[in-house]
Amino acid sequence: MKKITIISLFFALISTLTLASEVNIFSARHYDSDIQLYEKFTAKTGIKVNVVSGKAKALEKRIIEEGADCIADLYITADAGRLGAAQAKGMLQGGLSSAAIKAAVPKNFRTSQWVGIAKRARIVYFAPERVTGAELAGLTYESLANPKWKGRLVIRKSNNIYNQSLVASLVKNNGKKAAASWAKGVVSNMARTPKGNDRAQIMAVAAGEADIAVANTYYLALMLSGKKGAEQEEAAKKVKPFFPNQDDRGTHMNISGAGLLKHAPNKANAVSLVEFLLSSEAQEHIVNNTFEYPMIQGVSPHPLVVAMGLDFKQDLKTKVASYGAKQADALEVMLEAGWK
């Protein structure tokens, strides 16, 4: 018996190396700069941050299978659709409802189980040489299905979560039927079979393959920053951002965020990490490294993001929580429309 105890202790030791004060993160949203942020947190609170990064779906499966024995506290991922799905699967628990969190994050971007850390908008990019202001006037997501864009639009595949969330918001606002016929319109407007990531869509417009593209805001800033090299910086300058739906509900917003896991062993530490991530110090760090929009008031985004324009109307009407709820419908309408 003694032997077994010793052996299991030994394995427990090599498997977790448990420290008294720590918080464990499963992260599907990987930024190199996150590590520096966590180091700041540790320096401030003495709580050590442990991270496993991986593919979102695999991490979720691991959380579910490990069940009560999962020692992770927070699940950090990009896209509200994923956090919503995690909540729906019962992977999360309430508890992210401290006064500090409530004060920092608008109601639209949180539930008690997960909370947005940073915002991004999914917008339209256009080539000013080929797209006139008149054509763009009053552009909405809905009007991307307009035949005038035939052969001029590029957008990612339907298996991309950002697209799924965008379409989910359309299902939520316009109903499944309308979304279905919209998807068919979009597919027929595509300049090419969907391929590549968001940045590839922007570059397709810069390279003249298409006139308009749908992509998230931070990609253009990333290119403009020169982090992707001089050519891409030049290419980014050939493309301009356009924020759709300014005359109605506003531009589609999404978040990267953190969910509190159901069996979190270090719940309090997890909450204080989230609170720290929502502090202005941390928010400054995040927006300057990821080119996202800050979640809290009083912090300015990266200058390149500011230059893209800040005074646009955000869609605060559609709760981001609905992206998870309508994800399946969104995928279905896209696939039925033949959206690869």
Partner: protein, 539 residues
């Protein structure tokens, strides 16, 4: 006494096979639970697309690896031209480049405003080059990435077959007055067929289990389909149907591989071809042609990704400086050492158990258990987690022990265990083919000289197989250095390797930052390959 002794070997062999087989069984058993949220129309759409894509991918890769692999093997085996001795080993360096890193390079080079664009701009000044640069993405990109990282299997096996090919066969061709072309198609190629088929079926299995590059290019194959259906939608019915098809593919290939390997063995064993062949010395444009073909393949398969990664590492040195190289190196080496030791030791025990017990059942079990090789790593890892969780909830709790999950999930132990399942066939087949060379009467001679089974194992088999062991150890090392999905899911907190670091950067669209760890990964794998090239090429 004898019975008791055999039982120890038998049992250990039995248990090793069972351990390896469990996750594989789990994958398929777990699909018999019925769930499913999606309409059947959608399922069929998925299903046909997945199968169609898998077939296109498979045939594309097989065609390309056949042309490259057999072509190179033929040229370096039968002709002499400047650089031929260099190419003989340089071509196997492609093993050091995992398909996903190849995919990164391919995209980075050919994308709009990518490296090709930069080169053209620097050479010819500003211009609209994007539309004239070919785009290797999507299916085409995946086929190229996988082919150039896997053609080595076909090359190595075919070359070995050519090497041992009896001189008589080639002279026979001349004798019959065949032209070179006719000799190649009528004599040389058919006699190397078992080796080629064995190489191609390895390529096919690796292609079917590829996850990194197909998901990078966003292609839905059976593997990504199972991953999505099972892991993200909990749709076991669809996962079940998909894995049924995958299973059919895999077993078909498995049978093919086994069959042709046996034949290949037969061929290589028939002696008489050991005479050094008279190679034809090429001159003039023919020599240039042969050189160009080999150089092209070497360049595209190895230099190209290395140069792309090197280029980025140089123009974005910050990422290289920030990299915790020592830590990544030590982590990688730790995994390599632990896994190779465990794999070789257990593969050895199991093979020896099979040998002394001569049990048909055990033999069949081993054959079944090594099919884990063909199951995509990412699915294997999740199956392992699922199994441990089931085992923990249903059996361990029953005995009143608290939990064993944390011992196996998110630990080095668990990681090594899944590597064990994934790469067991590599170790087991390697040792098995070593053992095939030891005539059974060698064992009997040793017994008759008074050596016990254990002493025979330690005094005869291990010294005899030490070269094989070394070679297998290195092959395992190369695989583990490149391995991504299992490491990603199974590793403990704060544990990074070159592969995971490269992935993490690549997944956030920072291929520039992924360059430094990728480059280091390729360099380390290359060093391992070079230390064993003489065994791999067996001159």
């Amino acid at each position: 006494m004898l019975l008791k002794k055999i039982d120890i070997w038998y049992l250990s062999s039995f248990f090793i096979s069972i351990i390896v087989a469990v996750p594989i069984i789990t994958v398929f058993l777990s699909f018999f639970e019925t769930t499913g949220n999606y309409s059947s129309i959608l399922k069929d759409t998925f299903l046909y697309e997945y199968i169609f894509n898998s077939i296109i991918l498979l045939f594309g890769v097989l065609l390309l690896t056949f042309i490259i692999g057999v072509g190179c093997a033929y040229i370096v085996s039968f002709y002499k031209f400047p650089g031929v001795n260099f190419f003989k080993w340089a071509l196997i360096l492609s093993f050091a480049v995992p398909a996903y890193i190849y995919a990164y390079s391919l995209t980075a080079f050919f994308e709009n405003f990518g490296t090709a664009f930069s080169i053209l701009k620097n050479l010819f000044g500003e211009g609209d080059y994007n539309s004239s640069i070919p785009k290797f993405d999507g299916m085409l990109g995946a086929i190229i990435s996988i082919s150039f990282s896997l053609f080595g299997y076909v090359y190595v096996l075919t070359r070995a077959s050519f090497h041992y090919q009896s001189q008589n066969l080639i002279e026979l061709g001349k004798n019959l007055g065949f032209s070179k072309k006719k000799s190649f198609f009528k004599i040389i190629l058919p006699s190397a067929r078992p080796a080629i088929v064995a190489g191609l079926s390895l390529v096919a299995m690796e292609t079917l289990s590829d996850f990194g590059s197909v998901s990078f290019f966003g292609i839905s194959t059976l593997t990504t389909g199972i991953y999505n259906a099972w892991i993200s939608f909990d749709d076991l019915t669809l996962a079940n149907r998909l894995s049924f098809f995958l299973l059919i593919f895999i077993f078909g290939l498995f049978i093919l591989e086994n069959f042709s390997r046996r034949k290949a063995q037969y061929h290589s064993l028939s002696k008489g071809g050991f005479k050094s062949k008279s190679v034809i010395t090429l001159t003039g444009y023919k020599s240039l042609l042969a050189f160009s073909f080999c150089f092209f393949v070497f360049f595209i398969s190895f230099l190209f990704p290395v140069l792309q990664m090197l280029y980025w590492t140089i123009i974005f040195p910050k990422h290289f400086i920030d990299l915790k190289i020592t830590e990544l190196f030590l982590n990688t080496i730790l995994l390599v050492l632990l896994s190779s030791i465990v794999l070789i030791l257990f593969a050895f025990i199991s093979n020896y158990g099979n040998r002394v017990s001569k049990s048909k059942f055990l033999e069949a079990l081993t054959t079944f258990s090594i099919s884990g090789y063909a199951i995509p790593g990412i699915i294997l890892a999740v199956a392992f987690i699922t199994f441990i969780s089931w085992f923990d909830n249903n059996i361990v709790r029953y005995f009143g022990i608290n939990t064993i999950k944390s011992i196996f999930i998110g630990s080095i132990l668990g990681l090594v265990l899944v590597y064990f399942v994934r790469f067991y066939s590599l170790a087991s087949n390697g040792i098995k083919s070593g053992y095939l060379k030891i005539n059974y009467s060698i064992d009997e001679s040793s017994y008759l000289l008074g050596y016990s089974k254990f002493k025979t194992f330690t005094d005869v088999h291990i010294p005899y197989l030490k070269n094989s062991i070394f070679l297998i150890g290195i092959l395992i090392a190369i695989e583990i250095i490149k391995e991504l999905p299992i490491t990603l899911i199974m590793r403990p907190f704060n544990f990074e390797t070159f592969a995971t670091t490269a992935y993490v950067f690549a997944s956030q669209d920072l291929l520039e930052a992924a360059a430094a760890p990728s480059l280091l990964l390729i360099i380390i794998a290359s060093i391992f390959i070079l230390t064993t090239s003489r065994y791999i090429l067996k001159d």
